[in-house]
């Protein structure tokens, strides 16, 4: 009970309080003279939404693409790593995790230097985000796909005459659905909030939301930048809420 209260306080201190402070800044007429010293205004919020909206849509689309690519590429890779005892599978698994230890700037420069022709289309940004998020997808999927219980269920399904596709759809995916959802949510959230690769790889004419936030804090009033931060946080809620609800439904169905 006491541990629960302590954790709650800690989360409030590091998540809720900074968000409330940001909201106070975003709704102050002029924060430099003190919170609400010139009164409360929603003008910054209105202007912030206007400026940020196109970038939110762009980040959403990139996030969805990255999540989809993670499930497709990461899913197949995770299956191969989980089910293959040979050394190439282990090596590929290690290689896929390497970007975790490499700074975003290094990944970005390497990608631009190697595949510059993909930069204008935005494909390089998606590829950079996939490289960055793939280790998290593997971390979510490999242990589940390697679980003895799933391997045995798959073998039973094989012995009963099921084709590989039927086994994937009727045994593997239902068994892994929470992990799949977790992987998709993590890939989406990481991509949506990713700054380093977006900053270096993405064409400046089509910024993502984190890039727009950085630019706002660097070049505009703090009230406006704070308002854009609030809208960025709000924009995360529908997708994360939907994923949480879906996860809850799945947990309910499997109980």
């Amino acid at each position: 009970m006491r541990a629960g209260a302590a954790w709650t306080r800690l989360m409030v201190a590091v998540v809720v309080v900074p968000m409330l402070v940001t909201l106070v800044v975003a709704t102050s007429v002029s924060f430099s003279t003190g919170p609400f010293s010139g009164g409360v205004t929603f003008d910054w919020m209105s202007l912030g939404l206007e400026l940020l909206a196109p970038t939110l849509l762009r980040s959403f689309l990139v996030g969805v693409g990255v999540a989809a690519a993670n499930l497709l590429i990461g899913g197949l890779l995770a299956w191969w790593v989980a089910r293959t005892a040979a050394w190439p599978a282990r090596l590929v698994g290690y290689l896929a995790n390497l970007p975790l230890a490499v700074p975003g700037i290094a990944i970005s420069v390497a990608l631009i230097g190697t595949y510059a022709q993909l930069r204008p289309s935005g494909l390089l940004l998606v590829a950079g985000h996939v490289v960055f998020t793939l280790p998290f997808t593997l971390a979510a999927l490999v242990p589940v796909l390697a679980a003895d219980g799933l391997v045995e269920c798959d073998q039973v399904a094989r012995s009963l005459g099921a084709s590989p596709l039927r086994r994937l759809v009727t045994v593997t995916l239902p068994w892994c659905r929470v992990a799949v959802l977790q992987a998709a949510a993590t890939a989406y959230a990481l991509s949506y909030g990713e700054f380093n690769i977006s900053f270096f790889v993405n064409a400046p004419a089509a910024p993502t939301a984190p890039f727009a936030l950085f630019e706002a804090y660097a070049t505009r009033r703090i009230e406006l930048a704070s308002a854009m931060s609030i809208w960025f946080i709000v924009s995360l809620l529908p997708v994360l809420g939907a994923l949480a609800a879906l996860r809850g439904r799945l947990a309910e169905r499997s109980s």
Partner: protein
């Protein structure tokens, strides 16, 4: 049914890397009978089962099911029913959906499928459980669902890997009898892997004892019990201890001449001039010092087991187990004599 039906394994070898997990195994299971593969952990019995199921690659040899060479046939096309040790229930499906899985995979029409599911659920006495999820079943019920799922596709061969080991010891006796009844009712050629000699003796019409990837002895339970091929088989099946023996006229000497027995006290029905004896747990009884064939043993360990007392004895450096009916007063030294016909000359 002909002799070529059922399961035939010839010269089966399975390798894991550089290690031969199974070496040159040959077995035949006549149609409708039950083979129990028994042996200690890691002996290769499960690998034999997996090779028959098509789940591991065969390095050499041939596997025939109902006369058809399936050595290189994919698992999905062998028409076997597999019941793994964990039962491998599909947790997101109901009992009925689990049982119907193989029929759906084979595109069986819905009406036929539903009738077949009802039939096999009735066979394993789980008709009322069709809509339950596996998580809501006991271990014994899960075992029966796994059996029903395997039987639903009308397999040419049923493969059961340690079907009772995941259950509480108290339940095993009843469930072993239920399983035997279900297998008899299904009439399907069956291979059961077990490390439990009681299970093997109770369920198998044939038993194959496996050791270090090879079949040491195969035969009926009575053959293996009464005439184990070697010390390992005798010890593993719990039938007793085998000792070298020498017959000189009316006496048989054991332990290098330190124990002399009148031949008349031995069971010589199998051979009159054997060079080994099989001493079972009930072959010896406590006796007076002058009893014919008597021998003195050190009592190493005494264990009360309810209906009998189990003793670990040391006969001049050779250890033997003895089951004595009822309670036996503890003593450091015991004089024993053979029960007439209790020691078997082989």
């Amino acid at each position: 049914m002909t002799a070529s039906q059922g399961l035939s394994i010839a010269g089966l070898t399975v390798r894991y890397g550089a290690t031969d997990a199974v070496r040159d195994v040959s077995l035949h299971v006549p149609a409708g009978s039950v083979l129990a593969l028994v042996g200690p952990s890691g002996c290769g019995k499960t690998t034999i089962l997996r090779a028959v199921a098509g789940l591991v690659d065969v390095a050499a040899g041939e596997i025939r099911i109902e006369g058809r060479d399936v050595t290189r046939v994919p698992a999905a096309r062998r028409n076997v029913g597999l019941v793994p040790q964990s039962y491998a229930m599909f947790p997101h499906m109901s009992v009925a959906a689990n049982v119907a899985y193989g029929l759906r995979a084979r595109r069986t029409p819905a009406g036929v499928r539903e009738r077949r599911v009802a039939e096999v659920l009735e066979l394993v006495h789980l008709t009322g459980y069709a809509q339950r999820r596996p998580a809501a079943l006991s271990g014994g019920q899960r075992q029966r669902v796994a059996l029903a799922r395997a039987l639903a596709v009308d397999p040419a061969l049923l493969l059961l890997d340690e079907p009772l080991s995941a259950l509480d010891p108290q339940l095993r006796g009843d469930l072993r009898r239920n399983l035997a009844a279900n297998l008899a009712a299904a009439g399907c050629t069956t291979v059961i892997v077990t490390h439990d000699q009681q299970e093997a003796l109770a369920l198998g019409t044939t038993i194959a004892v496996v050791r270090e990837g090879r079949v040491v002895q195969a035969g009926t339970p009575a053959e293996l019990w009464n005439a184990p091929a070697d010390e390992f088989v005798a010890d593993f099946l719990g039938s007793g201890r085998m000792l070298p023996a020498r017959r000189d006229g009316d006496v048989v000497t054991l332990l290098g001449g330190r124990w002399t027995l009148p031949a008349a006290l031995l069971d010589t029905s199998r051979t009159r001039d054997g060079d080994r004896v099989l001493i079972r747990r009930d072959s010896l009884v406590p006796a007076g010092p002058a009893a014919p064939g008597g021998v003195t043993a050190l009592v190493r360990h005494v264990e009360f087991a309810g209906s009998h007392t189990r003793l670990r004895l040391d006969l001049d450096g050779t250890e033997l187990d003895l089951d004595h009916p009822g309670v036996l007063s503890p003593a450091p030294v015991l004089t024993l004599a053979p029960r007439p016909g209790g020691i078997v000359l082989l």
